[in-house]
């Protein structure tokens, strides 16, 4: 803004992130819609499975992650739709900043949104399904953050692709769901351990898997994203 020289990668990313968060904050449309969508998903699980409280309690972690996953496909598709709407992406591409900064900004924005969503959903889940958080808030937040990051990195790349294709609403889940199976598996498993206690000390291996997944896909997304949005 002040000088025409290319600004650094991380500064550019944070400027873009600030812009996205500001847009989100001004309308709050996306977060509102997502919260209601995932709340009703959580409710629907209990209707679909019947009032078996034991079952709900045991599987609460899995349901929470499914609700977040379904919401994430909506939210990530939206994060690029706003850029295509008024050809904003072309503007971003023309800016003297690294294209990879766009990936970082979008992925961080999606992560933050999902973490916020999860933060709102967890108390509801605790109340609805009657679970106890045995391991405490620290591991709970760590699981939430790692899991949301793992959904957001590949999701951002695929959302950028799908939002510009035909049938984008179908395409994003079609591409994303098989891909994030390891992340979903690990975060649901870790969440269940957090909720029910971890007598056999398995939590760290699931965190390791999530960490590795994050490392690989944040790296791949960072490297490949400029090719995705090039013209």
């Amino acid at each position: 803004m002040k000088r025409p020289a290319p600004i650094g990668l991380f500064r550019a990313a944070f400027v873009l992130l600030g812009k996205d968060l500001l847009i989100e904050w001004r309308t709050r449309a996306r977060l509102n819609a997502l919260v209601f969508f995932s709340l009703s998903t959580l409710l629907l699980f209990s209707f679909a499975l019947g009032p078996d409280t034991k079952l709900l309690e045991r599987n609460a972690g899995g349901y929470l992650w499914l609700a977040i996953l379904f919401a994430s496909t909506l939210s990530m598709g939206e994060s690029f739709r706003i850029e295509y709407e008024n050809a904003c992406l072309d503007g971003l591409r023309l800016a003297p900043a690294d294209a990879r900064a766009i990936f970082l900004a979008k992925a961080m924005g999606n992560t933050l949104l999902l973490v916020a969503l999860g933060g709102l959903l967890i108390p509801v889940m605790v109340a609805l399904y009657g679970v106890k958080v045995v391991l405490g808030v620290g591991p709970l937040l760590a699981t939430l953050a790692l899991g949301c990051m793992a959904l957001a990195a590949p999701g951002t790349v695929y959302a950028a692709i799908a939002s510009n294709a035909r049938a984008r609403d179908v395409l994003l889940p079609l591409l994303l769901f098989p891909l994030i199976v390891p992340a979903l598996l690990a975060s649901a498993k870790a969440m269940m351990l957090v909720l029910q206690g971890d007598p056999m000390n398995q939590l760290n291996s699931w965190f390791g898997l999530l960490g590795g997944f994050n490392l690989i896909y944040w790296g791949l997304g960072f490297a490949l994203f400029p090719r995705v949005i090039e013209d």
């Binding site: 590949p154 790349v157 692709i161 294709a165 395409l171 390891p182 690990a186 898997l209 490949l224």
Partner: protein, 235 residues
């Protein structure tokens, strides 16, 4: 070379297939434990091997395309993905059928089966992406990206499912293959390999032809072109 392959390969492939499957069905001894049902192996195992080989070709083409764009690489990627999907589907179906008499169920959540199923869904998504993007250049780049990401995911899925399962039970079915079963297995594998080359070759020609037709008339297609992908706000 291409002409020779196209003329000579069909009889070779068919001959190998008939020989391999004949030996497998009629000559090879039945398995000690699984009886005649084990004969499914001569179709199931090569199908899975060849599917993995075709998808490896797809991965290599995807990487190469990003470094050195060419319609030939893109067409080969499309061809290998579709053929890999064909062999993979056959392999998974046969595995499920084989599972019914041996395990008593069509499906178990063992790492191999689960990974194979996810693999199929991933590459169906890949093929859907190719179908849903009209702009040939974007389609090529995007499908290369998706091809790389999907291929990288496979080992992660494998290990994660393995860990996930190991908390419940340990899948143990070490299958020692009798020497008399090796011969039909090997012949069948080469037959499937020949079919893969044949299929990919023909599919590649179709894809390349489509690419050339698309590139030859970039703006002639009125509204079905890349413009239609944009949202109405964009002029």
């Amino acid at each position: 070379m291409g002409k020779f392959l196209r003329m000579a390969l069909p009889p070779i492939a068919l001959g190998l297939l008939v020989t391999g499957h004949y030996i497998g069905l009629a000559v090879a001894p039945p398995d000690r434990e699984m009886g005649d049902v084990q004969r499914i192996m001569y179709a199931h195992v090569p199908a899975v091997w060849i599917a993995l080989m075709a998808l490896t070709i797809n991965f290599i083409c995807s990487v190469v395309y990003l470094f050195k764009p060419s319609w030939k690489t893109d067409s080969l990627a499309e061809a290998s993905a579709e053929v890999g999907l064909l062999f993979g589907t056959v392999g998974v179906l046969l595995g499920a059928i084989w599972g019914r008499p041996t395990w008593g169920v069509y499906w178990t959540w063992d790492p191999r089966l689960t990974t194979a199923a996810i693999l199929l869904v991933s590459y169906m998504g890949y093929m859907a992406l190719r179908r849903f993007v009209e702009d040939p250049e974007k389609r090529a780049v995007w499908s290369a990206v998706v091809g790389i990401i999907a291929a990288v995911d496979l080992p992660i899925i494998w290990y994660s499912v393995k860990w996930w399962r190991s908390l419940h039970q340990v899948q143990s079915s070490p299958k020692t293959v009798d020497p008399e079963m090796v011969l039909p297995l090997r012949i069948s594998a080469f037959a499937f390999l020949a079919f893969m080359i044949l299929f990919i070759l023909h599919r590649y020609r179709i894809a390349l032809h489509e690419r050339q037709a698309e590139v030859a008339l970039p703006d002639a297609l009125p509204t079905d072109g890349p413009q239609a992908n944009r949202t109405p706000g964009v002029v």
